[in-house]
Amino acid sequence: MNRSESYDVIVVGGGHNGLVNAAYLAKSGLKTIVLERRYLVGGAAITEELVPGFKFTTFSYAISLLRPEIVQELDLVKHGFMVLPMVNTFQPGYHGEHLILGSDPDVNYHEIARHSIEDAEAAQDLDHLISRMARAIKPWMDRIPPNRLSSDPVEVNALNELKVYLEDLDPEVLDLIEKCTTCSIAEILEGYFETDLIKAMYASSGIIGSRCGPRDRESGLVWLFHKLGEYDGLPGSWGFHKGGNGGFTQALARSVEDFGGEVRTNAGVDKVLYEDGEVSGVLLQDGSILKANVVVSALDPRQTFTRLVEPGDLPKDLIDCIENLKFQGTAAKVNFALSSIPTFPGLEGREEIYKGFTNIGPSIDYLQEAFEDCENGKFSRRPFLDCCIQSTIDPEMSPPGNHIMSCFVMYAPYHLKQSDWKSERENLADTVESTLTEFFPGFSDLVLHREIVTPQDIEEIVGLSEGNIFAGELFKSQLFLDRPAPGWNQYRTPIEGYYQCGSGTHPGGCVSGGPGRLAAQQILSDKGL
């Protein structure tokens, strides 16, 4: 065996958080390497040309939560960072009923007013309140959260600061935050809207990737979380990265390398090595060893604490917490290569309606029923679909005239009750196709190829436990002060030099980079850098 190479920092996992983390550390002059198990970096943010000319965003497909500081601090524009704005959100209903909300607030007002004048006014009020809420929460998204179990005066002070901050918030903003932590999204929206289609459109962010229906109280917080993003400073807005989210992670990888870091693919890590409570390096799956005094796990908490290291070596209360974490993935994807753009009755030829999210889920009942199937251990017979046809904006995503359609599918429970995903995967895709055909007649005729991604695939390919897209549910007990576990929410672990920076840490899942960035801050400050 070669004499083992040695580094200042080894980052395990080349998802976007691992890359962000590595880029910051490399920028600070540390000799840093990212080890990625797969042939490409990006984790749940990749683009693959599975069929010649068609670029599939296999997993994540849109960007909003990304911390803007990262773009600046890692000089990402230089490396190809480019996010294109979503032009419209399209919410089809039945019998040609629909909502198309775009960039002009007055036009949006009249579009909603077609359904309800009061709802149109309420949407303005709610949108403004959401923006204010997002602004209020932002500072806490972008700092290392306090440790609520610590008696260190610094931590006690930070907790106090949080308390005072909340007390000083605009009462209306505080009220919405409180509602989001205690009420279902359906309940919250009840106070604003009367029209089902509009409620459903707003509610969808409350269920994305989570095992809850719109009438479950967990959905309030999931909804809040998804409102914390922005596009060019526009709160709650989303965009497409040029070339899909893989375009983003490729830019990140170039940034790591530009700062002098190394990115190694086909380099799965088997174990993190440590002695006497201090980390010393990693053992790769090929048997080789790399040495470092700092090892950062960019994987989810289950992997970080119970696979890469021996859980028996860690405090039992921590391991109990990790074992109790809810992953319970419920999302799947079916991505389609299409011969041409789908048609919606009455809006034929209006390609611009697809330049953003297309939400299939026309009522709260529809969403809730979809969830009930999941509770019964089945995938939804009529699933909620969040579809994007990025090729309508970014021509490089598909051959001219053809299109690529990403479909995020809910609910698809990781554990099926009476079957398994091997036998159900084609059925799932058929269900998605027939649901789409209901809204877009003739949809099936357009399908050239489909890529099916079950929760089990997500787990196997990306490593996200039980296929949970956020590396752990975005539930109250698993966020902020408690992500991934009380006392261990500051990116450290009980093993000195061993850190965590995946989506299972604060601020949480989504293509945000927040965990990677804040973990880097923690590591650097621990090293006195």
Binding site: D106, H110, I117, E118, E121, R135
Partner: protein
């Protein structure tokens, strides 16, 4: 696609410029002719016709309508008798202005209101909170178009079409017919001149438009766009929401909000001491008055003509006079030993061709608001910030007797 007003097909025919802008989601023309000045002067010289249909319009009926409006509006709706209109505003419960608008009692117990922003849900919400069951509030925005006929010849034009207008005093309202269509005419406007606003059923829009244009032919009737309107309203000292102030509804912090006193609308509260009205925001509004804690006041500013001229002349260029209208914020400083001692800002600026002087609507700390107070207004001269002397002056800047005269008196001028 943006919506169009009921008059759109006519507007399209006359819009020489091909330029349209959006107003609350409707297509409107900033100007129709190449000469903006020609449109502007029609308001002061002859008669102008403006389509203000994009305003939000609400109707209130039922015995509780008055109770509700008394609760919401700043001015006492009790004084708005049948056939009368009020320019008024309404506040949130902290006494910050939500909107301004015109309310009128068109029939006994039936009120109509215009607003710049949607407010149906808000009004209904208040009614519900008060437990008022006998009030029906409806958004009638698309049921009606509104035309504003403004200028010294406005009376002569409208009296060709309907007799009742002859008896209309300032802020009177009457239901009548024009070209066989029933319309509601009020002696109101946003120009500070003699004028009328006419509510027309959308289906009748074209007929009434044609009738007005026909009747105005001999009086140089001139359709005007929104820019000319915005210019003349500065002369009239009328504030524009979104320019001179913002609604509290979309504010983030209180420094973006304004109270009625700060906007110079204290007059709306005349007689407050003697009435027990419980309107929303009353407590705050009274407290502000009692404690004198207005943060600023809205005033008129007249720029010193000589300094305006010399500042440009010294820089080697001609001072701009022609069609200069700006809605961008201009900083105002205290005059004294300290340079650039920030005091406030102008929110609307017009080099008034009619008055032959640059004027502005400004916000200043209370100690600088006495008539005649001198301040420095920052203007860019060849892109460089320069200070010119400006004096606090009375608003409206232009206030012709014909604006409020009864028709009998108007005849006396002929």
């Amino acid at each position: 696609m943006p919506l169009t007003t009921p008059f759109h097909s006519r507007l399209e025919e006359i819009n020489q410029t091909g330029i349209w802008r959006h107003w609350s989601g409707y297509l409107v023309a900033p100007q129709y002719q190449y000469s903006l000045s020609n449109e502007y002067y029609s308001v002061r010289n002859s008669v102008s016709l403006l389509d203000t249909s994009p305003l939000f319009k609400y109707s209130f009926t039922g015995i509780d309508a008055k109770v509700l409006l008394e609760r919401i509006l700043l001015r006492d709706i009790g004084h708005c008798e049948v056939g009368k209109a009020h320019y008024t505003c309404w506040c949130d419960d902290r006494g910050f202005v939500l909107q301004d608008g015109v309310v009128m009692q068109v029939n006994s117990g039936e009120f109509w209101l215009t607003a710049a922003e949607p407010t149906l849900r808000y009004f209904r919400g208040v009614a519900k909170e008060m437990g008022l069951s006998e009030v029906i509030i409806e958004d009638v925005s698309s049921d009606f178009g509104i035309l504003s006929l403004q200028g010294p010849q406005a009376y002569n034009v409208i009296s060709e079409l309907t007799e009742v207008s002859g008896t209309l005093s300032y802020f009177d309202v009457v239901q009548t017919e024009i070209a066989g269509c029933s319309v509601t005419v009020s002696r109101t406007g946003y120009t500070g001149d003699l004028g009328y606003e006419i509510w027309i059923r959308s289906d009748d829009a074209m007929r009434v438009w044609d009738a007005l244009i026909g009747a105005g032919e001999d009086f140089n009737i001139t359709p005007i766009g929104t820019t000319a309107l915005k210019m003349v309203r500065v002369e009239a000292g009328l504030l524009l929401m979104g320019t001179d102030f913002y609604t509290s509804r979309f504010a983030w912090v209180d420094s973006q909000r304004e109270t009625p006193h700060e906007l110079g609308w204290g007059w709306m509260l005349k007689g407050l001491e003697n009435d027990g009205r419980d309107f929303i925001g009353r407590g705050a509004v009274e407290k502000e008055l009692e404690m004198g804690k207005s943060r600023w006041k809205t005033v008129g500013l007249t720029v010193d003509w000589q300094e305006y001229e010399s500042t440009y002349t010294e820089a080697g260029i001609l001072p701009p006079h022609h069609e200069v209208y700006s809605e961008s914020t201009m900083s105002i400083y205290r005059r004294g030993s300290k340079d650039w001692d920030y005091a406030g800002y102008a929110s609307s600026f017009l080099v008034s061709s009619l008055l032959k002087k640059p004027i502005a609507i400004a916000k200043l700390p209370v100690d600088l608001t006495a008539i005649g107070s001198e301040v420095n207004l920052e203007i860019p001269v060849i892109r460089e910030p320069k200070n010119v002397l400006a004096r606090v002056s009375k608003m409206p800047f232009f206030n012709p007797p014909r604006k409020t005269e009864s028709s009998g008196e108007m005849g006396a001028h002929e």
